[in-house]
């Protein structure tokens, strides 16, 4: 109970104190989040001992706000708190001279509070409330530099995209509470039949929106207009992770049909956004696309029926991705830009930071002995053993290959440009970064006990599977490093925002790389290269197909809908005289109709 209160109230109190005192925001935020981390550690330790901490706070009559710390939620809470501390340390340096830092740290801590509330919530209504709060806080944070051009639009876009997907969560929650008669999340697993199917699909919609799976990925790319610590927090452990967390928690109730849908969304999401990441010309946007791609992995894992592996990957990804973003933030700080062109060689100028970034990048690519290797192995094992293996394994492998490729590419760009003069030291930012990098590197061996704690059975893995995974990861990374994409991407200055962007970029990528590589690396690796090219072409085709579907089907449908709406709107326009008495009369008629329906309704049953 005390740990629960500490976890939630310490960041909250810090946020309120910051907004009230308007002084020393960084120190207050750090103190608050550190206390929160202590609380989360306490929770984790207690649940690891086997305790189950739960609290029911008085809220709506008959619907108390339930908080609960199971091993699963305590793991999430610990992850959120850890990332929050590291990101805030980094932000203390990053935002040191920003005039709006009081607002920044205030909202950040409140955001962390909301996220902790979300992961610890024990009933749907609390979860919904926390869900709304993180949406709102992220809107504030993405729009933090609201006076800059395009930032308000990006914030609004993020808000609207996630909002429209949130509709799914609302409907799902209503349905779940209505069907099970209890707002508790645990009670939902008893649900079967059509309600479970519909609710599961709606939850998938909500999760896809928050986790930026296609077709919602656009908001995440635009959200890069926010300060980098915000991106780090948003991507690793909070907003985007909320989608995956939602599905992980709901996993016990999802029927098989929904799992298939989850697998399709996640698999294609992982591949498509992976391709987008490869084509991206902006470091932060590249990382954003890779976030979406990695969350696609988690969905694949959930679809394979192994949410615990998804938890592992979520945790690994949280540490890695926040480290990457913090590194990107330092580079951005140096060069005052995030495009890959401008960042070329930024890594060479700061070897220490680059080393951290590179470690995190290789970890994300899935190289041993770092965290994501373990989790990807778990993912591969899970997909291999699932009934959907023929679908999921290739998608997972493609995703892994792509994650190696785009990280290799990012490293190459950062390393290969001209190194500039020595930079001013950035102690806070480096501490935040390295803290996370160390976690990213060393977390792997802890996964075994964690798995046991979460109660997963370790399945038999065919021995070639880890080897295959490792080969794919290493191959991807090597590929990304070897293909010099900066020159190739030169002509494509129009931001690769749509699926169309992926297609054209990749087309050039594969065509030119064929010429370059054919000339440069001749005999030894011919076969590997042929395979690579095949993979590249497949990717191109997939991307082109996606593009076509996007343009012809989805856009066409949307335009038709728009036309219809506009026509009916024209018709309705005549009703809207703007005269208040007319409108009052119309609303009276409407109410009368409603009453009529209500009166007739009982008769018809």
């Amino acid at each position: 109970m005390i740990w629960l209160a500490l976890t939630l109230m310490a960041p909250f109190g810090a946020g309120i104190a910051i907004l009230a005192l308007r002084r020393q925001p960084a120190a207050l935020a750090l103190a608050g989040s550190a206390l929160g981390l202590a609380g989360a550690l306490g929770l984790f330790a207690a649940t690891a001992r086997g305790d189950r901490i739960a609290a029911a706070l008085p809220f709506l009559p008959g619907f108390p706000a339930r908080l609960e710390a199971s091993p699963l939620t305590a793991t999430f809470a610990l992850m959120v708190a850890t990332v929050a501390v590291a990101v805030l340390i980094h932000a203390a340096g990053y935002m040191a001279r920003d005039p709006g830092r009081v607002r920044f740290f205030g909202i950040m801590t409140l955001f962390v509070t909301a996220m902790e509330l979300l992961v610890l919530s024990g009933d749907w209504i609390t979860l919904l409330g926390a869900w709304e709060m993180i949406g709102f806080a992220s809107w504030l944070l993405i729009g933090f530099w609201h006076h800059r051009p395009a930032v308000p639009e990006a914030a609004l876009r993020a808000f609207l995209y996630t909002r429209s997907a949130d509709l799914g969560l609302y409907l799902a929650v209503f349905l779940l509470i209505g069907a099970t008669g209890s707002p508790e999340i645990a009670a939902a697993s008893a649900l079967t039949g059509p309600p479970a199917l519909i609710a599961g699909l709606l939850l998938l919609l909500a999760a896809a929106g928050k986790s930026a799976q296609p077709p919602f990925q656009e908001w995440l790319m635009r959200a890069m207009a926010s300060p980098t610590p915000v991106s780090a927090l948003l991507h690793s452990a909070t907003l985007v992770a909320a989608g995956a967390i939602l599905l992980i928690r709901a996993a016990p109730m999802l029927p098989d049909a929904v799992l298939v849908a989850v697998g399709i969304v996640g698999g294609f999401g992982a591949v498509i956004t992976g391709l987008m990441a490869l084509a991206e010309r902006d470091l932060k946007r590249l990382l954003a696309a890779s976030t979406a791609s990695q969350h696609g992995f988690m969905l694949i894992t959930i679809a394979a029926g192994a949410p615990v592996a998804a938890v592992l990957h979520l945790v690994a990804h949280a540490a890695i991705k926040s480290a990457l973003f913090l590194g990107a933030g330092i580079f951005q700080h140096d060069r005052n830009a995030t495009t890959l062109d401008a960042l070329a060689g930024a890594g060479r100028a700061r070897p220490g930071v680059f080393a951290g970034f590179a470690l995190a990048a290789l970890a994300l690519a899935g190289l041993p002995p770092m965290a994501a290797w373990f989790s990807k192995e778990a993912i591969l094992a899970a997909t291999w053993n699932s009934p959907l293996a023929p679908w999921l394994v290739p998608l997972a492998l493609a995703g892994a290959l792509l994650s190696g490729a785009y990280m290799g590419r990012a490293l190459r760009v950062l390393w290969s440009g001209p190194a500039e003069r020595a930079q001013t030291p950035v102690p806070f930012m480096a501490v935040g970064l390295w803290g996370l990098v160390i976690l990213a590197v060393t977390l792997g061996p802890a996964f075994g006990p964690l798995e046991a704690m979460l109660g997963a059975t370790i399945e038999d893995i065919p021995p070639f599977l880890p080897v295959l995974g490792l080969a794919v990861a290493a191959g991807g990374a090597a590929l990304g490093w070897l293909l010099p994409p900066r020159r190739l991407l030169g002509p494509f200055l129009g931001p690769a925002e749509r699926g169309f962007g992926i297609a054209s970029a990749l087309e050039t990528l594969s065509a030119r790389s064929a010429l370059t590589l054919a000339g440069a690396v001749a005999r030894l690796e011919t076969e590997i290269l042929a395979a690579t090219l095949a993979a590249g072409r497949t990717g191109t085709r997939v991307a082109a197909a996606t593009c076509r579907i996007d343009r012809d089907r989805i856009d066409g449908a949307i335009f038709a809908l728009t036309r219809g709406l506009r026509a009916s709107g024209q018709g309705l326009r005549r009703l809207q005289s703007g005269l208040i008495h007319r409108e009052l009369a119309l609303s009276m008629i409407g109410i009368l109709l409603l009453i009529g329906v209500l009166l007739i309704a009982p008769l018809s049953f």
């Binding site: 005549r574 809207q576 005289s577 703007g578 005269l579 208040i580 008495h581 009052l584 009276m588």
Partner: protein, 103 residues
């Protein structure tokens, strides 16, 4: 069937009808608000009557009356705020002169 309840409900229905007539027929914003007040008064009467004659033990009924009273006060505050702003801008609160909301 209980005589007291029916009496109160009929009175409330009459107040409601008068309120609707007023809200629809008046040209002045403040007069329209008077109509709305009458409608709300009818709602209050119904709430109290149902509480008194059907569930006198359940205090939630009275609580609803308080909430409706709050709504009345809010309606007044917002309505007068709009009226003041409107009058400042246009010099009149006649609704026939307000067409800006037209589609």
């Amino acid at each position: 069937m209980t005589a007291e309840l029916v009496v109160v409900l009929i009175m409330a229905a009459a107040l409601f009808a008068i309120g609707i007539y007023g809200a629809l027929s008046q040209t002045n914003l403040v007069m329209i608000m008077m109509g709305v007040e009458l409608i709300l008064a009818a709602a209050l009467l119904n709430l109290v009557a149902f509480w008194r004659y059907l569930h006198p033990g359940a205090m939630a009924g009275q609580m609803f009356v308080l909430i409706v009273m709050t709504v009345m006060a809010v309606e007044m505050a917002v309505g007068f705020g709009i009226a003041v702003a409107r009058f400042r801008a246009r010099g009149s609160v006649e609704v026939e002169e307000a067409r800006e909301l037209g589609g």
